[in-house]
Subunit: 382 residues, 4 copies
């Protein structure tokens, strides 16, 4: 057996080491390992500590991206990178420092800032990856989903279930930036993804700008569904969740709490989940999305959960703690909570006064994957 040749041919590289739980390093063991390499085999005993830890030890790291930096680089890209067929979108993705430079915010989630100049069109395509847009600031872009133009305004959440045609158009005289969330890493790693190109530009009729999309007119009435709808496709048929509703729901919860009724997650911590009105369940099959409000001066209990999350600071200021890291945060900042890392947030008066003093955090996570496969665990971490 020519083991030296093996070192070039096989991607398997095993090194016998003296360690507790490991077999004694002997010539026989070395020969055995060369045999494993040749046959593309890896013994469990050499890897069990990494593969089967006592609890999740994500390679992803807690990390924070500052909105001002993202915004600045996106604007710079706007000047020199055209939007069009091939590149498809001027989207710039967060690359978690623990994930080897790949554009993965977490092992399952993609988060990006997307930027569109006045009059620009991002061409139509569709893909199995589930997606949403969330608007941190600005307005004026229309996403055309299967021919239905959907306006985007600050605070709006716009889900885009897989395999729907969609394109974007900036109808204003200002550039606009927003956050894209997708399950690209998850579908990439399990090899689920399909993609298809659509029209290069949307029609003029689709560039008109109704106040409400057709989806909202059909599905946006509380507790009501159209009898005409079959509604069996995966993902929400409601294409826009407007800030006015989200804000009111959060305010209602805090007011109910003040009146002495159960309504919040914990004292001073209101939260709503975006749901598919056809099922009451998560808005997308692989992505959960929520808005959390930490009232002025309130602080959430540290919690750790299986699955990973990306947070965007929508409004207010405060501090957030993820695992051993603590950051002061302000509008637009994005940060990542890897699986089983404790997370808590505290509202604090910032350098600029916000109306409410509350810290509003938009969150998305891969919880639906964990729940569908019955892998969820949650613990108080304090």
């Amino acid at each position: 057996m020519n083991t030296s040749a093996l070192d070039f041919d096989s991607p398997v590289h095993l090194r016998a080491v003296s360690a507790p739980g490991q077999p004694d390093v002997t010539p026989a063991l070395e020969e055995l390992y060369r045999g494993f390499e040749q046959e593309l085999l890896v013994p469990l005993w050499a890897e069990i500590g990494d593969l089967m830890p006592v609890h999740p030890r994500s390679k992803a790291l807690p990390h924070l991206w500052r909105w001002e930096n993202l915004r600045k680089l996106a604007a710079q890209a706007g000047e020199i990178v055209p939007v069009g067929r091939g590149g498809e979108r001027r989207a710039i993705a967060l690359a978690n420092p623990g994930l080897g430079g790949r554009p993965f915010a977490t092992p399952t989630l993609w988060a990006a800032i997307q930027y569109l100049l006045p009059g620009e069109d991002a061409p139509e395509h569709r893909h199995t990856q589930h997606a949403f847009r969330f608007v941190i600031e600005g307005e004026g872009v229309w996403t055309v989903v299967d021919g239905d133009p959907v306006a985007m305004r600050r605070g709006d959440f716009l889900p885009q279930a897989g395999w729907n045609w969609h394109a974007h158009h900036n109808a204003t005289r200002e550039p606009m930036a927003w956050i894209d969330g997708l399950d690209i890493p998850f579908q990439y790693v399990i090899d689920a993804q399909f993609f298809e190109l659509g029209r290069d530009a949307v029609s003029e009729a689709e560039k008109t700008t109704p106040e409400r999309s057709r989806a909202e007119r059909l599905w946006g009435h509380p507790g009501l569904r159209p009898v005409s709808a079959a509604g069996s496709a995966p993902g929400s048929p409601l294409l826009a969740y407007r800030w006015e509703h989200t804000n009111r729901a959060l305010a209602d919860q805090l007011a109910l709490e003040a009146e002495g009724f159960a309504a919040t997650v914990e004292p001073g911590h209101a939260a709503v989940r975006y749901t598919d009105p056809a099922t009451g369940g998560d808005v997308l099959p692989t992505i959960r999305a929520e808005m959390h409000r930490v009232a002025r001066g309130a602080e959430t209990e540290p919690v750790r959960e299986t699955g990973s999350s990306v947070f965007a600071v929508f409004d207010g200021s405060g501090t957030v703690t993820v695992g051993g890291k603590t950051w002061s945060v302000a509008r637009g900042d994005l940060f990542v909570v890897p699986s089983w890392q404790p997370f808590s947030a505290k509202s604090e008066a910032g350098t600029t006064d916000s109306d409410s003093g509350a810290l509003d955090l938009f969150r998305f996570s891969d919880s639906p994957v964990f729940e569908a496969l019955r892998l969820s665990r949650t613990d108080a971490a304090r």
Copy 2:
């Protein structure tokens, strides 16, 4: 064998008759039938035509009740029948003429007009029967559900899932009448019902009259759910579906149809279903509730379905056809569609002009029972 004695003891009465498919009438057959009676037995061959028809042949009949008569009798009852413990409610139920004088609008559904005088309280109780209220006219009564006062106004739909405490209070200076729907006949026939008395009167605090109930503040935001809610009890946690939302949803559907988009059930026929926001499914486990709008001059296609429905004319005027019967209808009229009887409706300008010229029909049915047990069938009847 003393057969004459049997005629007094046994509820089984068999008569041998000469008919196709029936055995020859002989003394031996007569003796056999006496034996059956004595042993409390009934042969299938004598009853199969009734028990196993080619399609549902409901004993319930199509029937119409006029609102003016109901309203008048309810007011008369208001003068002489007190509301209180024992009788519990001043509710007067529709008795389908085919169902033997029992207070069953259909074999599974109860429909009643309930009437409450100024300042009156209907005492608190709870029961496994699922219930709702729908307001044809007036306002000012508050239903207190598990301590949450819920206002009732024209066009509002107020579900009341089983086993929640509830009481009513008329806070105005006017009497008020509304429609009650329950699954009393269904739970009665299958022997499912439990009932418990609560407090004789609600507290003063519960008589305050918020614009929105706590249920609406928690669950009444489109596509959003409170993260704090477990939400596993049967039936909707949303206790009020307001007319402004229902009306807007119906108007949106007709407007979308006019713009050329799929939205309505059929041309000129908009419809919304009241749903449990925690599941997207029916608002109550045994009762489906919907609002239908037949646009000015439109007519629906005759359809027959398994299961029975009760309709209330909410607004407008027109004609409705159930099986072989056709009635001109106006606000508040109630009528019954038995299982597998074809139904259609036509909007017609009435003697008084309504704003829209549309015929608005509130409908409730036992469809969830049929769907849960996979017994649903629907056919176009023309």
Copy 3:
């Protein structure tokens, strides 16, 4: 108002009575009641005690039918009542003494003895009513289900989900009797039933008598399903549950209990439920079927449940108690447990020694209806 005419026309008959919770009997009340009758209305306050009891008070009564009497009358019917088109089946149904002489064992369940002479054919038909056969004694009849001949032998349970074609053929030289269970009363009262005639006789090929049906060859392997099967129709695709498997499962449970492991429902009380292998749920959408074994000398705790059951004594002897009634029972006896009536059973050595001394009780009930609609309640009754 001509009230005397009403007495002829209206099925509603109201009598004003002096009673607690009832309004004072006055001429005004009498006039109001005449108005109700004319308009086909019934006030809740007059009926609430019957309609909304504190717990289920079934009109159905506990009752026992003796097998020897059933068998004798069935044989007598065999002599004088032909089987054929029109009457369809020589089935003789239990008529609960509380249910007005109708052929309803309980408000939802039909139970009958069916009898077929040597060489006789019961013609093919299908219906939406869900059905099963259970064999108390004898063998030799083949049920042909959608062209698949299924042998019937003592102890076998043979489900027949709605809308499958089926016919029976007695291939032996002996008459045979078995028990039929269906949801005829339930589908009758909710008006769900459809019926269709098939061929007058099955083909010669279908009269061959394989040991195992095709259904068993496809679906009768523990924990395995055919990859080829779509399997979305309601009800089990497995058409025969053989006694050898049922018996072994019950014996295994009692043996495990004797070894100190959890396996039985309670000490000395083994039970298996027949399930749809495609779902793990009940074998039929509206009917639950189980076999219970009460070991020699054991006694079950009284339990009351919502929903009604029919029991057939398959083997052994003992006493059973239903509500206030206690009967000694032996092979083939049938009895009824109405909703919320406490039930318990005790195994006792009979006049003839059985092998095991155990009391084997076949049970079927309407529990799936209660569970699907979330109306189930169970309580220990002691």
Copy 4:
């Protein structure tokens, strides 16, 4: 901006290239990319071809491992690698050549050969990873699952849902080898895994060797479930699926096909799926397991599916084609079918005559993940 320092600090490495769909390479673009690297950002346009392909293009490669080589290396490991706490198992995993030397057969599935010497104990532990054992040859090892000893024999499939305690013991005088399948890669990549050590050795009582496990005595009866079982934990409560049942089910399908009835997947291709008897669904939440039989001389149609599979040749010989690769296979050989790679198999007479001439293929896959998240697609590939 000190970009040279960045090259050391950031895991993000972007190279501007001239290519269709990519922006022109200019100094401004280079500077933009340095900014992206500094901020841990990656533009979509640079990666879209890899991340969002037209259809799945798995990094995993079709690959075959020969049983004789696996068996020989496992025996060699038996001589020099002890089994015990720390290493936990003498399991040697397949490392797909496209997955960078990691012990992943596919991106989601782990497959290993495990080897246990006479008298050896693999110590008790539990983990959230779902697992199964499948026996290619030999017998005599007992897996103790939550105190229930389960015998392992050729052809048996033994599922092990997550978080059950388990240990192995070889009670014979011969070494034994079998195949382990787990979802280790999937739970690793999404960070779901928990692990806990149990007892170092099982008790003497647990080393006794019943013919049937307690699980089989409770759950191994076709179409029957114990009434005593709550049965809500994820994964099958049935811990052993015996070869005699699997073999009979496959033989039945081919016999039914020969008689002219629908039973097989396609001509000459029988297949059964191992199911959870409590749900009728997949035996494990994340893993599907099936046995396929390709009859003598038959060939399956090429099919491609989303999701990946591992196959083990259980018996017979033939050729299999995966993507562009074709291999002659014999007993024990293992091979991998990556997502969306066409697969077909052909039965061929081997060098040694098997009884049936059929090719029996055990298959496991990640299909439940795809189905739960509604990501499944299947296409005929010819």
